[in-house]
């Protein structure tokens, strides 16, 4: 196992984050603070409690999930796309490092950034409202699992993309709409019955709802199904990455 190789990629990616701290950390934190102000304080003050918690409190897990899903995908996709774009990928492809090790390096770095940002948002939100976490272990587990899964998904997007526009394609047109419609800002139970049924097709509903469960103990969906669905998605992503490296798809000519 080329552990130093994995570490080299991991450290390189993490140093990129700290080099661009305003973009990597300050930007998502500022966005979250704005969501709190707009949806929490301005609009939220007129909304009654949801599932027994104030709207501001209800918002926190959804906002964290919204951010980490987007950050995981964008960090991992950019992480592998940029070496392809700049030509520095030659170094990784000619090094004695296996495809799995390369994936570990990039995905662990992207997931670490997401977990870090998620925790920073959690701490930031503590300035706005008192936080309750009923199941801290599960909260952390969900945070890590979702970050890893979506970082892997982002890694695939980064390999598939052959221009900057394509990197934004899936996050903008699929992931963000699904996240907004997945109960980040509302409970699925608040929707008319027809839209509730439609919402259950959206996989993000399960992620947000189960994450919210770890905070307040209430969920729109079965938490076990949510975990199984996430692991299933993770397995699909792993399978796809293995195929990419086996065939050299979009990497080797």
């Amino acid at each position: 196992m080329n552990l130093r190789g994995i570490l080299a990629i991991y450290q390189f990616e993490m140093s990129r984050m700290f080099r661009t701290v305003s973009q990597s950390i300050a930007s998502p934190v500022l966005s979250t603070a704005l969501y709190f102000i707009v949806f929490g304080s301005a609009i939220g003050s007129r909304i009654e409690n949801i599932e027994g918690v104030s709207y501001m409190s209800f918002l926190i897990p959804g906002l964290i999930m919204l951010t980490i899903l987007n950050q995981s995908v964008s960090n991992a996709s950019f992480g592998i796309y940029f070496p392809k774009f700049s030509g520095t990928i030659y170094e990784i492809l000619s090094a004695p490092i296996s495809p799995i090790e390369i994936t570990f390096g990039y995905v662990l770095a992207a997931a670490s950034k997401s977990v870090l940002i998620g925790l920073i948002i959690l701490i930031t939100s503590a300035f706005f409202i008192e936080i309750t976490i009923l199941h801290p272990f599960w909260m952390l587990l969900f945070l890590i699992l979702m970050s890893l899964t979506f970082s892997l998904f982002g890694f695939i997007i980064g390999i598939w993309a052959n221009d900057f526009q394509k990197i934004q394609l899936i996050p903008s047109f699929i992931l963000t709409p699904l996240t907004f419609l997945g109960g980040s800002f509302y409970s699925i139970g608040m929707l008319p019955e027809f839209w509730q049924k439609i919402s259950y097709i959206n996989p993000i509903v399960y992620l947000i709802s189960s994450f919210r469960w770890s905070f307040y103990g209430n969920s729109d969906v079965n938490v076990v199904i949510a975990i199984i669905a996430t692991l299933f998605f993770l397995a699909i992503c792993i399978g796809f990455v293995s195929w990419i490296f086996k065939t050299g798809y979009k990497i080797k000519t």
């Binding site: 390189f12 030509g87 170094e91 492809l93 090094a95």
Partner: protein, 303 residues
């Protein structure tokens, strides 16, 4: 000991382009091998396949006896690559990019060794500079330093001195000779015939994806080299026109030039001089020019 062995290597692209056709090649350990060829001949494709960046269509590449796909961790650990294009993370510091390269090859960070490499390539003063602040020549040196950061046994340089000034080119040649003395095998592609002539032990010529010839540099020049005798004479002797006709000499003012193959036609050159003497043609000067690698190269690729 054979460092690189290539057997029946083929590479075709999806659009039908045959980039490499039945390449067979061996490079000995500690040898400097230069591959010459025009643009698009297949030089970079060959290097990329050996190093694992491109996929082959068929054939086999072995590095110190191990297959470069089946035992890729072993083979790649022995190889350092300097690609043709300068590709670095512009915002990274020089020392950090070297540590990154070394790490990829599963080597612990060794400040002592990396400092040695930086010193050898005159980069010590730039150690903590961001790469984007360096000149083109300096960036090229960083690329070489990165390739050497993990102490490779074989160094591939794809047109290492393209766009580099004469001083740096000579510094690099000296450096490559030092590496060779330390047992490093060097495989370089170049457009500069002078480069191959100066540092290579053996030369290969590739054209349209096929290796036309591989030969010891001196032997290649000897084997294929032509010589030119330039005779300066102010004589207006009657026999001079007969001699020009007999030996197909070219006349330019008072200079007669005779081009011949040093191997095949050595007798004819002696006979020419003898005829000139016998005809009492006064010779003011004789110059002999050996053809250089550039002429050989052009002759071969134009055939």
């Amino acid at each position: 000991m054979i460092a690189i062995k290539i057997k029946n290597l083929h590479k075709s692209y999806e659009n039908g382009l045959k980039a490499l056709k039945k390449i067979n090649l061996s490079v000995k350990r500690g040898e400097i091998f230069a591959l010459l060829g025009p643009n698009g001949a297949g030089k970079s494709t060959l290097i990329n396949i050996i190093c694992g960046i491109s996929k082959k269509t068929s054939g086999q590449v072995t590095i110190f006896g191990k297959d470069n796909i089946l035992d890729y961790k072993f083979t790649r650990s022995k190889i350092g690559l300097v690609p043709q294009e300068i590709a670095t993370d512009s915002f990274e510091k020089v020392i950090n990019t070297l540590k990154f390269s070394r790490g990829l090859f599963n080597k612990s960070p060794s400040e002592k060794y990396l400092n040695f490499i930086l010193k050898s390539l005159n980069l010590v003063s730039k150690k903590n500079n961001q790469i984007r602040t360096l000149s083109g020549g300096m960036k090229r040196r960083v690329m070489i330093a990165k390739a050497l950061s993990h102490e490779p046994k074989i160094l591939f340089l794809d047109e290492p001195t393209a766009g580099v000034d004469v001083n740096l080119r000579k510094t690099l040649w000296n450096f490559l000779n030092r590496l060779k003395k330390n047992g490093v095998t060097i495989f370089l592609t170049t457009h500069y015939i002078e480069e191959a002539e100066n540092i290579a032990d053996r030369i290969g010529i590739i054209n349209n994806g096929e290796i036309i010839i591989t030969e010891d540099k001196k032997k290649l020049i000897e084997k294929l080299g032509e010589k030119k005798i330039i005779i300066t004479t102010n004589s207006s002797h009657n026999n001079i026109d007969n001699i020009i006709k007999k030996y197909h000499l070219k006349k330019n003012k008072n200079k007669l030039s005779y081009i011949y193959n040093s191997k095949k036609d050595a007798d004819l050159s002696a006979s020419l001089l003898s005829d000139l003497v016998k005809s009492s043609i006064k010779i003011d000067d004789i110059e002999i020019e050996k053809s250089n690698l550039e002429e050989i190269f052009l002759n071969m690729v134009e055939k």
